[in-house]
Protein backbone atom coordinates (compact mmCIF):
# COMPACT_ATOMS: atom_id res chain seq x y z
CA UNK A 1 0.00 0.00 0.00
CA UNK A 2 2.64 2.51 1.11
CA UNK A 3 4.90 1.37 -1.75
CA UNK A 4 2.15 2.20 -4.26
CA UNK A 5 1.48 5.48 -2.49
CA UNK A 6 5.05 6.66 -2.86
CA UNK A 7 5.92 5.07 -6.20
CA UNK A 8 4.11 7.73 -8.24
CA UNK A 9 5.85 10.68 -6.51
CA UNK A 10 9.19 8.86 -6.68
CA UNK A 11 8.95 8.18 -10.41
CA UNK A 12 7.68 11.73 -11.09
CA UNK A 13 10.68 13.23 -9.28
CA UNK A 14 13.05 10.71 -10.87
CA UNK A 15 12.18 11.91 -14.37
CA UNK A 16 12.83 15.50 -13.31
CA UNK A 17 16.06 14.53 -11.56
CA UNK A 18 17.28 13.20 -14.93
CA UNK A 19 16.27 16.28 -16.92
CA UNK A 20 17.16 19.17 -14.61
CA UNK A 21 20.90 18.51 -14.05
CA UNK A 22 21.38 18.13 -17.83
CA UNK A 23 19.41 21.28 -18.55
CA UNK A 24 21.49 23.02 -15.88
CA UNK A 25 24.70 22.21 -17.79
CA UNK A 26 23.49 24.25 -20.78
CA UNK A 27 22.18 27.06 -18.54
CA UNK A 28 25.61 27.18 -16.93
CA UNK A 29 27.30 27.15 -20.35
CA UNK A 30 25.28 30.25 -21.28
CA UNK A 31 25.82 31.78 -17.83
CA UNK A 32 22.04 31.81 -17.41
CA UNK A 33 21.65 29.79 -14.20
CA UNK A 34 19.53 32.61 -12.74
CA UNK A 35 16.94 31.67 -15.39
CA UNK A 36 16.08 28.56 -13.35
CA UNK A 37 15.07 30.65 -10.35
CA UNK A 38 13.22 33.16 -12.54
CA UNK A 39 11.16 30.56 -14.44
CA UNK A 40 10.35 28.71 -11.18
CA UNK A 41 8.94 31.86 -9.57
CA UNK A 42 7.03 32.86 -12.71
CA UNK A 43 5.48 29.41 -13.01
CA UNK A 44 4.52 29.47 -9.30
CA UNK A 45 2.79 32.82 -9.85
CA UNK A 46 1.08 31.49 -12.99
CA UNK A 47 -0.19 28.41 -11.12
CA UNK A 48 -1.64 30.54 -8.32
CA UNK A 49 -3.20 32.95 -10.78
CA UNK A 50 -4.83 30.05 -12.62
CA UNK A 51 -6.15 28.61 -9.36
CA UNK A 52 -7.74 31.94 -8.41
CA UNK A 53 -9.26 32.18 -11.90
CA UNK A 54 -10.73 28.68 -11.59
CA UNK A 55 -8.34 27.09 -14.10
CA UNK A 56 -5.98 24.11 -13.61
CA UNK A 57 -2.90 25.38 -11.71
CA UNK A 58 -0.45 23.20 -13.68
CA UNK A 59 -1.66 24.67 -16.98
CA UNK A 60 -1.33 28.20 -15.56
CA UNK A 61 2.20 27.54 -14.33
CA UNK A 62 3.34 26.05 -17.62
CA UNK A 63 1.68 28.81 -19.68
CA UNK A 64 3.22 31.60 -17.57
CA UNK A 65 6.71 30.10 -17.83
CA UNK A 66 6.35 29.53 -21.58
CA UNK A 67 5.22 33.13 -22.04
CA UNK A 68 8.20 34.35 -20.02
CA UNK A 69 10.64 32.16 -21.96
CA UNK A 70 9.38 33.24 -25.37
CA UNK A 71 8.75 36.88 -24.39
CA UNK A 72 12.22 37.35 -22.91
CA UNK A 73 13.71 37.45 -26.42
CA UNK A 74 11.62 40.51 -27.29
CA UNK A 75 13.40 42.50 -24.59
CA UNK A 76 16.81 40.81 -24.90
CA UNK A 77 18.52 43.87 -26.41
CA UNK A 78 17.34 46.19 -23.62
CA UNK A 79 17.74 43.76 -20.73
CA UNK A 80 21.28 42.43 -20.97
CA UNK A 81 23.46 40.95 -18.23
CA UNK A 82 20.78 38.75 -16.70
CA UNK A 83 18.46 41.73 -15.95
CA UNK A 84 15.56 39.95 -17.66
CA UNK A 85 15.86 36.99 -15.27
CA UNK A 86 16.14 39.22 -12.20
CA UNK A 87 13.00 41.13 -13.24
CA UNK A 88 11.09 37.92 -13.97
CA UNK A 89 12.14 36.47 -10.62
CA UNK A 90 11.02 39.54 -8.68
CA UNK A 91 7.76 39.88 -10.61
CA UNK A 92 6.93 36.18 -10.16
CA UNK A 93 7.78 36.20 -6.46
CA UNK A 94 5.76 39.39 -5.77
CA UNK A 95 2.68 38.14 -7.57
CA UNK A 96 2.86 34.70 -5.94
CA UNK A 97 3.24 36.10 -2.41
CA UNK A 98 0.45 38.67 -2.91
CA UNK A 99 -1.93 36.03 -4.24
CA UNK A 100 -1.10 33.66 -1.38
CA UNK A 101 -1.60 36.44 1.16
CA UNK A 102 -5.02 37.46 -0.18
CA UNK A 103 -6.64 34.24 -1.39
CA UNK A 104 -7.11 31.33 1.06
CA UNK A 105 -7.00 28.62 -1.63
CA UNK A 106 -3.90 30.23 -3.16
CA UNK A 107 -2.22 30.21 0.24
CA UNK A 108 -2.38 26.40 0.43
CA UNK A 109 -1.05 25.88 -3.07
CA UNK A 110 1.55 28.60 -2.52
CA UNK A 111 2.91 26.71 0.48
CA UNK A 112 3.04 23.49 -1.55
CA UNK A 113 4.87 25.20 -4.42
CA UNK A 114 7.43 26.89 -2.23
CA UNK A 115 7.87 23.95 0.17
CA UNK A 116 8.15 21.37 -2.60
CA UNK A 117 5.62 18.68 -1.66
CA UNK A 118 6.58 15.98 -4.15
CA UNK A 119 4.61 13.35 -2.17
CA UNK A 120 1.32 14.88 -3.34
CA UNK A 121 2.14 14.25 -7.03
CA UNK A 122 -0.67 12.45 -8.81
CA UNK A 123 -0.67 9.95 -11.67
CA UNK A 124 -1.66 12.80 -14.04
CA UNK A 125 1.57 14.61 -13.11
CA UNK A 126 3.54 11.40 -13.55
CA UNK A 127 2.12 10.98 -17.05
CA UNK A 128 2.99 14.56 -17.90
CA UNK A 129 6.58 14.02 -16.72
CA UNK A 130 6.82 10.64 -18.46
CA UNK A 131 5.87 12.24 -21.78
CA UNK A 132 7.67 15.57 -21.37
CA UNK A 133 11.07 14.41 -20.12
CA UNK A 134 11.99 12.18 -23.11
CA UNK A 135 10.80 14.92 -25.49
CA UNK A 136 12.82 17.56 -23.62
CA UNK A 137 15.92 15.35 -23.62
CA UNK A 138 15.54 14.81 -27.37
CA UNK A 139 15.23 18.56 -28.01
CA UNK A 140 18.22 19.24 -25.78
CA UNK A 141 20.28 16.73 -27.73
CA UNK A 142 19.23 18.39 -31.01
CA UNK A 143 20.17 21.84 -29.73
CA UNK A 144 23.37 20.77 -27.98
CA UNK A 145 25.89 21.27 -30.81
CA UNK A 146 24.43 24.61 -31.85
CA UNK A 147 24.38 25.85 -28.25
CA UNK A 148 28.04 24.90 -27.81
CA UNK A 149 29.11 26.31 -31.18
CA UNK A 150 27.22 29.58 -30.67
CA UNK A 151 28.96 29.98 -27.32
CA UNK A 152 32.52 29.17 -28.40
CA UNK A 153 32.52 30.54 -31.97
CA UNK A 154 29.65 33.04 -32.38
CA UNK A 155 31.13 34.45 -35.62
CA UNK A 156 31.74 31.00 -37.08
CA UNK A 157 28.18 30.01 -36.11
CA UNK A 158 26.73 33.01 -37.95
CA UNK A 159 29.01 32.83 -40.99
CA UNK A 160 27.96 29.21 -41.62
CA UNK A 161 24.42 30.48 -42.13
CA UNK A 162 23.15 28.96 -38.90
CA UNK A 163 20.24 30.98 -37.53
CA UNK A 164 20.59 31.93 -33.90
CA UNK A 165 16.94 32.54 -33.08
CA UNK A 166 15.61 28.94 -33.38
CA UNK A 167 18.34 27.77 -31.03
CA UNK A 168 17.84 30.65 -28.59
CA UNK A 169 14.05 30.60 -28.52
CA UNK A 170 13.97 26.80 -28.56
CA UNK A 171 16.28 26.64 -25.56
CA UNK A 172 14.51 29.43 -23.66
CA UNK A 173 11.17 27.68 -24.14
CA UNK A 174 12.59 24.31 -23.18
CA UNK A 175 14.13 25.75 -20.00
CA UNK A 176 10.92 27.60 -19.08
CA UNK A 177 8.67 24.57 -19.60
CA UNK A 178 11.02 22.17 -17.81
CA UNK A 179 11.30 24.51 -14.84
CA UNK A 180 7.53 25.00 -14.71
CA UNK A 181 6.99 21.25 -14.67
CA UNK A 182 9.66 20.82 -12.00
CA UNK A 183 8.26 23.62 -9.82
CA UNK A 184 4.81 21.99 -9.79
CA UNK A 185 6.36 18.84 -8.33
CA UNK A 186 9.66 19.62 -6.59
CA UNK A 187 8.92 23.19 -5.51
CA UNK A 188 10.71 26.39 -6.44
CA UNK A 189 13.96 25.81 -4.56
CA UNK A 190 14.05 22.04 -5.08
CA UNK A 191 13.95 22.61 -8.84
CA UNK A 192 16.56 25.36 -8.65
CA UNK A 193 18.89 23.21 -6.53
CA UNK A 194 18.77 20.38 -9.10
CA UNK A 195 19.50 22.78 -11.96
CA UNK A 196 22.30 24.68 -10.25
CA UNK A 197 24.35 22.45 -7.96
CA UNK A 198 25.02 19.25 -9.97
CA UNK A 199 26.45 21.13 -13.02
CA UNK A 200 28.40 23.48 -10.75
CA UNK A 201 30.07 20.50 -9.06
CA UNK A 202 30.43 18.43 -12.24
CA UNK A 203 32.11 21.21 -14.22
CA UNK A 204 34.91 21.51 -11.66
CA UNK A 205 36.38 18.07 -12.36
CA UNK A 206 34.95 16.70 -15.64
CA UNK A 207 37.55 16.22 -18.39
CA UNK A 208 35.22 16.97 -21.31
CA UNK A 209 31.63 17.95 -22.12
CA UNK A 210 30.23 14.43 -22.18
CA UNK A 211 31.83 13.64 -18.82
CA UNK A 212 30.42 16.90 -17.46
CA UNK A 213 26.91 15.87 -18.49
CA UNK A 214 27.34 12.37 -17.04
CA UNK A 215 28.73 13.61 -13.70
CA UNK A 216 25.97 16.18 -13.42
CA UNK A 217 23.32 13.54 -14.11
CA UNK A 218 24.77 11.11 -11.56
CA UNK A 219 25.09 13.77 -8.86
CA UNK A 220 21.51 14.88 -9.42
CA UNK A 221 20.18 11.32 -9.32
CA UNK A 222 22.09 10.33 -6.18
CA UNK A 223 21.02 13.51 -4.36
CA UNK A 224 17.41 13.00 -5.41
CA UNK A 225 17.21 9.35 -4.32
CA UNK A 226 18.88 10.03 -0.96
CA UNK A 227 16.71 13.13 -0.35
CA UNK A 228 13.53 11.20 -1.19
CA UNK A 229 14.37 8.54 1.39
CA UNK A 230 15.48 10.99 4.07
CA UNK A 231 12.43 13.26 3.66
CA UNK A 232 10.15 10.24 3.90
CA UNK A 233 11.97 8.83 6.92
CA UNK A 234 11.95 12.16 8.78
CA UNK A 235 8.46 13.09 7.53
CA UNK A 236 9.67 16.44 6.19
CA UNK A 237 8.80 18.44 3.05
CA UNK A 238 10.86 17.14 0.13
CA UNK A 239 12.11 20.43 -1.40
CA UNK A 240 14.14 21.71 1.57
CA UNK A 241 15.63 18.26 2.23
CA UNK A 242 16.79 17.98 -1.40
CA UNK A 243 18.19 21.51 -1.33
CA UNK A 244 20.06 21.02 1.94
CA UNK A 245 21.45 17.70 0.70
CA UNK A 246 22.77 19.29 -2.48
CA UNK A 247 24.21 22.22 -0.53
CA UNK A 248 25.99 19.73 1.75
CA UNK A 249 27.34 17.85 -1.33
CA UNK A 250 28.48 21.17 -2.73
CA UNK A 251 30.29 22.26 0.41
CA UNK A 252 32.00 18.88 0.86
CA UNK A 253 33.24 18.78 -2.74
CA UNK A 254 34.10 22.50 -2.91
Amino acid sequence: MSTDLFLIPFLTGLGLAILLPLLGCYLRLRDEWLAALAYSHVSAAGALLALVAGLPPAAGGIAAAALAGAGKRLFAARLSGGAAYALLLLAGWSLAVLLAANQPQAERLGHALFDGQLYFSSSAQLWLVAISVPVALGVLRLLSRHLLLAHTYPDFFRIRGLRAWPTQIGFDLLAALALALATMNLGVMGAFALVFIPPWLAFRRARDWRAGLLRSLLLGLVAYIVAFGVALWLDQPFGPILAVMLVAFGLIVA
Binding site: T152, D155, F203, R207, W209
Partner: protein
Protein backbone atom coordinates in the same frame (compact mmCIF):
# COMPACT_ATOMS: atom_id res chain seq x y z
CA UNK B 1 36.20 33.41 -55.07
CA UNK B 2 36.29 36.90 -53.53
CA UNK B 3 36.51 40.26 -55.32
CA UNK B 4 36.29 43.83 -54.04
CA UNK B 5 36.51 47.10 -55.96
CA UNK B 6 36.93 50.54 -54.37
CA UNK B 7 35.52 48.98 -51.24
CA UNK B 8 34.99 51.18 -48.18
CA UNK B 9 33.79 49.44 -45.00
CA UNK B 10 33.24 50.29 -41.36
CA UNK B 11 30.87 49.98 -38.43
CA UNK B 12 28.90 53.14 -37.64
CA UNK B 13 30.78 55.06 -40.34
CA UNK B 14 33.41 54.45 -43.05
CA UNK B 15 36.67 53.21 -41.48
CA UNK B 16 38.88 52.24 -44.45
CA UNK B 17 40.24 53.92 -47.52
CA UNK B 18 38.93 52.50 -50.85
CA UNK B 19 40.54 49.15 -51.59
CA UNK B 20 40.72 46.75 -54.53
CA UNK B 21 41.12 43.11 -53.52
CA UNK B 22 40.81 39.68 -55.05
CA UNK B 23 41.37 36.11 -53.93
CA UNK B 24 41.51 32.92 -55.98
CA UNK B 25 40.98 29.37 -54.73
CA UNK B 26 44.22 27.98 -53.34
CA UNK B 27 45.70 31.43 -52.73
CA UNK B 28 46.88 32.97 -49.45
CA UNK B 29 46.68 36.77 -49.30
CA UNK B 30 47.99 38.82 -46.38
CA UNK B 31 46.39 42.07 -45.23
CA UNK B 32 48.81 44.41 -43.47
CA UNK B 33 49.06 48.07 -42.49
CA UNK B 34 49.46 50.20 -39.39
CA UNK B 35 47.18 49.85 -36.33
CA UNK B 36 43.74 51.36 -36.80
CA UNK B 37 43.84 51.23 -40.60
CA UNK B 38 40.84 48.88 -40.69
CA UNK B 39 42.36 45.44 -41.37
CA UNK B 40 40.09 43.58 -38.97
CA UNK B 41 37.10 45.65 -40.12
CA UNK B 42 37.78 44.66 -43.73
CA UNK B 43 37.96 41.00 -42.68
CA UNK B 44 34.66 41.46 -40.79
CA UNK B 45 33.14 42.89 -43.99
CA UNK B 46 34.30 39.81 -45.94
CA UNK B 47 32.55 37.76 -43.23
CA UNK B 48 29.35 39.80 -43.69
CA UNK B 49 29.55 41.47 -40.28
CA UNK B 50 30.84 45.01 -40.97
CA UNK B 51 28.94 47.47 -43.18
CA UNK B 52 29.87 48.17 -46.81
CA UNK B 53 29.59 51.96 -47.32
CA UNK B 54 30.72 52.16 -50.95
CA UNK B 55 32.32 50.11 -53.71
CA UNK B 56 31.47 46.49 -54.40
CA UNK B 57 32.15 43.20 -52.65
CA UNK B 58 31.39 39.89 -54.37
CA UNK B 59 31.74 36.42 -52.93
CA UNK B 60 31.30 33.33 -55.08
CA UNK B 61 27.90 31.77 -54.43
CA UNK B 62 27.78 28.73 -52.19
CA UNK B 63 31.12 29.32 -50.49
CA UNK B 64 31.60 27.72 -47.10
CA UNK B 65 33.34 30.26 -44.91
CA UNK B 66 35.30 29.88 -41.68
CA UNK B 67 36.40 32.85 -39.59
CA UNK B 68 38.83 33.25 -36.71
CA UNK B 69 38.64 36.46 -34.70
CA UNK B 70 41.02 37.79 -32.06
CA UNK B 71 38.57 36.83 -29.30
CA UNK B 72 39.50 33.59 -27.55
CA UNK B 73 36.58 31.13 -27.10
CA UNK B 74 35.19 31.67 -23.56
CA UNK B 75 35.92 28.29 -22.00
CA UNK B 76 37.07 29.08 -18.46
CA UNK B 77 35.24 26.88 -15.96
CA UNK B 78 33.67 24.75 -18.69
CA UNK B 79 34.49 21.05 -19.17
CA UNK B 80 35.40 21.45 -22.84
CA UNK B 81 38.38 19.51 -24.20
CA UNK B 82 40.37 20.29 -27.31
CA UNK B 83 38.66 17.35 -29.01
CA UNK B 84 35.25 18.81 -28.10
CA UNK B 85 36.25 22.12 -29.70
CA UNK B 86 37.52 20.48 -32.89
CA UNK B 87 34.36 18.38 -33.10
CA UNK B 88 32.18 21.49 -32.99
CA UNK B 89 33.67 22.95 -36.17
CA UNK B 90 34.22 19.58 -37.85
CA UNK B 91 38.03 19.87 -37.76
CA UNK B 92 40.27 16.82 -37.44
CA UNK B 93 43.10 16.63 -34.88
CA UNK B 94 45.23 14.90 -37.53
CA UNK B 95 48.27 17.05 -38.29
CA UNK B 96 48.38 18.87 -34.96
CA UNK B 97 51.98 19.56 -33.81
CA UNK B 98 53.61 16.98 -31.48
CA UNK B 99 53.52 19.44 -28.54
CA UNK B 100 49.73 19.60 -28.82
CA UNK B 101 48.51 16.25 -30.10
CA UNK B 102 48.87 14.51 -26.72
CA UNK B 103 46.99 17.37 -25.03
CA UNK B 104 43.95 17.34 -27.26
CA UNK B 105 41.92 15.42 -24.67
CA UNK B 106 42.72 17.84 -21.85
CA UNK B 107 40.33 20.59 -20.81
CA UNK B 108 40.98 23.83 -22.65
CA UNK B 109 41.08 25.82 -19.42
CA UNK B 110 43.98 23.64 -18.21
CA UNK B 111 46.15 24.46 -21.27
CA UNK B 112 48.57 27.38 -21.63
CA UNK B 113 47.39 30.47 -23.47
CA UNK B 114 49.46 29.56 -26.54
CA UNK B 115 48.24 25.95 -26.63
CA UNK B 116 44.61 27.05 -26.25
CA UNK B 117 45.01 29.68 -28.97
CA UNK B 118 46.53 27.20 -31.40
CA UNK B 119 43.75 24.65 -30.82
CA UNK B 120 41.10 27.35 -31.25
CA UNK B 121 42.84 28.45 -34.46
CA UNK B 122 43.18 24.86 -35.71
CA UNK B 123 39.47 24.28 -35.17
CA UNK B 124 38.73 27.10 -37.63
CA UNK B 125 41.59 26.49 -40.06
CA UNK B 126 40.66 22.83 -40.50
CA UNK B 127 36.89 23.23 -40.49
CA UNK B 128 35.33 22.13 -43.79
CA UNK B 129 35.53 25.45 -45.69
CA UNK B 130 36.38 26.99 -49.07
CA UNK B 131 37.40 30.39 -47.72
CA UNK B 132 39.18 30.88 -44.38
CA UNK B 133 39.52 34.32 -42.78
CA UNK B 134 42.16 34.63 -40.05
CA UNK B 135 42.66 37.68 -37.82
CA UNK B 136 46.12 37.93 -36.21
CA UNK B 137 46.61 34.14 -36.05
CA UNK B 138 50.18 34.38 -34.67
CA UNK B 139 49.10 36.17 -31.45
CA UNK B 140 50.28 34.12 -28.42
CA UNK B 141 52.25 31.70 -30.62
CA UNK B 142 55.93 30.92 -30.09
CA UNK B 143 58.38 30.36 -32.96
CA UNK B 144 57.51 26.64 -33.25
CA UNK B 145 53.81 27.50 -33.42
CA UNK B 146 54.36 30.10 -36.15
CA UNK B 147 56.45 27.63 -38.20
CA UNK B 148 53.80 24.92 -37.89
CA UNK B 149 51.02 27.36 -38.78
CA UNK B 150 52.91 28.59 -41.86
CA UNK B 151 53.39 25.04 -43.12
CA UNK B 152 49.74 24.16 -42.57
CA UNK B 153 48.41 27.29 -44.23
CA UNK B 154 50.35 26.18 -47.31
CA UNK B 155 48.94 22.67 -47.06
CA UNK B 156 45.39 24.01 -46.68
CA UNK B 157 45.86 26.24 -49.73
CA UNK B 158 47.14 23.26 -51.77
CA UNK B 159 43.81 21.57 -51.00
CA UNK B 160 42.13 24.48 -52.83
CA UNK B 161 41.12 26.63 -49.89
CA UNK B 162 41.41 30.43 -50.25
CA UNK B 163 42.87 32.12 -47.18
CA UNK B 164 42.93 35.78 -46.10
CA UNK B 165 45.29 36.57 -43.22
CA UNK B 166 45.33 39.81 -41.24
CA UNK B 167 48.63 40.12 -39.40
CA UNK B 168 51.08 42.68 -38.07
CA UNK B 169 53.83 39.99 -38.11
CA UNK B 170 55.79 40.95 -41.23
CA UNK B 171 58.04 37.86 -41.17
CA UNK B 172 55.06 35.50 -40.92
CA UNK B 173 53.18 37.29 -43.71
CA UNK B 174 56.23 37.17 -45.96
CA UNK B 175 56.74 33.44 -45.31
CA UNK B 176 53.09 32.32 -45.49
CA UNK B 177 51.37 34.51 -48.08
CA UNK B 178 51.41 34.44 -51.89
CA UNK B 179 50.53 38.15 -52.04
CA UNK B 180 50.36 40.99 -49.58
CA UNK B 181 47.88 43.88 -49.69
CA UNK B 182 48.84 46.87 -47.56
CA UNK B 183 45.99 49.08 -46.38
CA UNK B 184 46.52 52.84 -46.44
CA UNK B 185 45.44 55.20 -43.69
CA UNK B 186 42.06 56.72 -44.55
CA UNK B 187 42.07 60.43 -45.42
CA UNK B 188 39.77 62.28 -43.05
CA UNK B 189 38.15 65.37 -44.59
Amino acid sequence: MLRAEALVVGWSGPATSPIDFSLQAGEIVGLTGPNGVGKSTLLAAFAGRATVFSGCLELQAGLRLAVQTQEVPPVDGLPLSGRDLLGLTGASPEGLPPWLIDRVDLRLDRLSGGQRHYLALWAVLHAPADLVLLDEPTNNLDAAGVRHLTAHLRERAREGCGIVVVSHDAAFVAAACDRVVTLEVRDVD
